[in-house]
Symmetry: C2
Subunit: 169 residues, 2 copies
Amino acid sequence: MATEVTDGPAAGETNGAAVEKTVTFTAVKPQVFVESSKVSDAVAFYKSAFGVEEVNRVTHPKRKADQELPLLLSAEIKLGSSTILISDVSDDSAAPPKAVGSGLVICLETEDIEAAINTAVKAGAVAEGEISEGEGAWFGGRVGKVKDPYGVVWAISTPAAKKEGNVEA
Amino acid sequence: MATEVTDGPAAGETNGAAVEKTVTFTAVKPQVFVESSKVSDAVAFYKSAFGVEEVNRVTHPKRKADQELPLLLSAEIKLGSSTILISDVSDDSAAPPKAVGSGLVICLETEDIEAAINTAVKAGAVAEGEISEGEGAWFGGRVGKVKDPYGVVWAISTPAAKKEGNVEA
């Protein structure tokens, strides 16, 4: 059907670039979405259930402790050498519809979100929304999302290096 | 509300418990379930989308290449230092209902499945089924499952060390 196949056909946006850029991923983190305000409970549960250690947390930059909405948006827990994100579904645009419960997302960290998303889209994934300033788990960073042909949502984000600041307003 | 807390109440902290056995987890692996017969396709896709490397595969012990049912049941792909399992939903009892697509499970590997499941259940998780001889991704090993209070299914299995054998019948 095609004699000249230089660039990806059907499935995706091919931004011309014939030279594939090599993308390096620095981390893979399963992300569990829990109901709004349940992040703390969930972290406590995973501590007793699996002996995880909490290594990082992201609080809402604009909420105060006495507000009704939860202050803790996302936490990173460590199990052996792996990191799992536990995130509040209410404030996270990466959450797939009906994400609560078995709604998991796999996060890939890279310094080059654009190249990573382009490569995935070329391979047949569908970009979901725009790359945006991170909220929730990615506060302080940037994040984009793709859904693969099998329905899995992959959040592609910059590493969360700057999180310790946790702006409090 | 409680003066004597010896064992887990409803869904919460049970740190007082009588001599908890320490469970060591040796690996954490997100597991993606894809439609029956799509494991090969999915691995090919993840290679082009994310540059993963296939490091292991489990074929069905009783099927032959010319049968209608798929031969490849599960594959392990590597992304950086992380491993992700891609499994055929048709032959895997760990698959949550409607697991295709965003149905992910997180696998934890340990030598002591019983202790791990007991600890999780004490903390408030619910055991799903019995510990069984592994099929699919865990062929040659053993696997048990728990569902946590947030709806996430955790497959707790022995390490897949003996997989290379891949019995062929």
